[in-house]
């Protein structure tokens, strides 16, 4: 075993994961389940039935007070003013130079109360970033210790969760949420996800984690639910073309480069990073995220080099097998003028250029 300076952090379900025989992995400083039975089986369960993920490592930040909306709007790229109570929004936290601090979900509880779901390993940084921009005197709290988060994803997620709550879940639209109860436990129930399927992400007090986990698995048994690890979460989000912080987006990538123009509302008024984005919009971007599909034999993976016509042109941000499409797929940065779909590129796999072609993203879209 390699010596590590700091012990890994764990979620409230750590003992259960161990007991269920999950293969654990160090994920950004957290000891998390990579898989229970196998990534392929778990991936397919989510596409065809349902999967349950412990994502309690994710962070939660609460912004409260009369200026809560003003602060939230100022530190994020999307239009907070357009949110209704009970609505959620995918958004970016940017530095003034336009690069990502993090990508986040903003939930509006009320005009004076917002609930942010942020990436696990970014939570302290996000909190400092938001608190540092708080000239509005809103109340900002890093509240991660008060929440466990589970994701229940897949076409049967609604039927399974509905068994455990008196609240009618059907009216909750995509990217909306309600505060209700699941298994008798007060729970924030959001119709959001990171898999490309219908499903829910639920937030509740950590002390109820084991019961919540067991009750959902029991309720889902008749529907074929599977506990899933971060391995399947990654293959699912890649098929759905969703960005992962540290891969598609990071401090030196802007939303325009990442193809996330839709989360940027330049006309909403001033916000952090706006000036840099306006400049980039005028000048045009030089690189752009593109999807690719392997044509030759081999799997293009994270950080592999990309060549066009024999010259270095970019790098793979995420790549691997697509269990649903039975192809090897990935996302990569290419020069903006060469990122159109249908272009022949080469992924350098262990020194050998292997043919691939750029394709539209998402790779997978569920039938609706």
């Amino acid at each position: 075993m390699a010596a590590t300076a700091t012990p890994l952090k764990t979620t409230a379900l750590h003992a259960i994961h161990r007991r269920m025989g999950a293969k654990m992995v160090d994920f950004g400083g957290w000891d998390m389940p990579l898989q229970y039975t196998g990534i392929l089986e778990e991936h397919r369960a989510v596409r065809s039935a349902a999967g349950l993920f412990d994502v309690s490592h994710m962070g939660e930040i609460e912004i409260r007070g009369p200026a809560a909306g003003a602060l939230t709007d100022y530190v994020t790229t999307n239009a907070v003013a357009r949110l209704q109570p009970g609505q959620a929004q995918y958004s970016g936290l940017l530095y003034e130079h336009g690069g990502f601090v993090d990508d986040i979900l903003v939930h509006k509880l009320a005009d004076d109360s917002y609930f942010l779901c942020v990436n696990a390993s970014n939570q302290e940084k996000d909190y400092e970033h938001i608190a540092g921009a708080n000239r509005f005197h809103a109340e900002v709290e890093l509240a991660s210790d008060r929440y466990s988060q589970l994701a229940i994803q897949g076409p049967r997620a609604l039927a399974i969760l509905q068994k455990l709550t008196p609240d009618d879940l059907t009216p909750i639209r995509y990217y909306h949420f309600m505060d209700g109860s699941v298994a008798g436990i007060p729970t924030r129930i959001a119709r959001t996800g990171y898999t490309g399927e219908d499903g829910f992400e639920i937030y509740f007090a950590p002390e109820h984690s084991e019961r919540m986990w067991k009750d959902i698995l029991d309720a889902g048994q008749e529907f074929g639910i599977r506990p899933c690890g971060l391995g399947a979460r990654n293959t699912l989000r890649l098929e759905a073309g969703m960005a992962l912080y540290g891969h598609e987006i990071h401090a030196s990538i802007t939303p325009f480069e990442a193809g996330l123009d839709w989360i940027v509302k330049l006309d909403k008024g001033d916000f952090m990073g706006r000036a840099a984005l306006v400049r980039q919009k005028e000048q045009g971007i030089t690189r752009r995220l593109a999807g690719f599909e392997m044509m030759g034999r081999g799997i293009g993976r994270d950080d592999y080099e990309v060549f066009i016509d024999g010259s270095p042109a970019g790098w793979v941000t995420s790549g691997g097998p697509s269990p649903t499409l039975n192809k090897n797929i990935g996302l990569c940065y290419l020069p903006a003028d060469r990122a159109k779909t249908g272009r022949r590129i080469q992924i350098v796999i262990r020194g050998q250029p292997v043919d691939a072609v750029t394709v539209p993203v998402p790779f997978y879209k569920r039938a609706t």
């Binding site: 075993m1 990579l34 196998g38 990534i39 392929l40 081999g298 799997i299 691997g320």
Partner: protein, 129 residues
């Protein structure tokens, strides 16, 4: 668990010798560590491989793992079924999931490999069980 008639390496490969030919594969421990295997990259027939040198790779959904040849020699056959059914390495790592067959150039190399019992002990120490 680990068949007695195989010889093992600390890189988790095995070789099964019959006459002057050795069949090579990865161990059950290796396939479990990798998880679902989705791609196997093998040397072509005729390739000369050297003991301890990389001769190919096995890829799971999550990771790429080099295969180090446990013996030196020339590749005389590859397990072509794995091109379309790489999961056979998971299902039968010590038999159906063999990777290549090699005509041994230095049969005395075998003596330096681990027995099933020694390999099992080595894995137990590695994993701390």
């Amino acid at each position: 668990m680990y068949p007695e008639d195989l010889h093992y390496t600390k890189q988790h490969e095995w070789v099964r010798v019959s006459g002057d030919v050795g069949a090579i594969g990865i161990t059950d421990y290796a396939q479990k560590e990798l998880g679902d295997i989705v791609y196997v990259d093998l040397p072509r027939v005729g390739t000369k491989v050297e003991q301890g040198k990389v001769m190919g790779s096995v890829e799971s959904v999550k990771a790429v793992s080099d295969i180090y040849s446990p013996v030196s020699g020339e590749v005389i056959e590859t397990n072509d079924v794995l091109a379309t059914a790489p999961e056979k390495v998971n299902a039968g790592p010590h038999d159906d999931g063999w990777l290549v067959k090699i005509r041994l150039a230095a049969p005395d190399e075998i003596g330096g490999l681990l027995s099933a019992a020694d390999y099992e002990k080595y894995v137990a120490e590695e994993t701390g069980h």
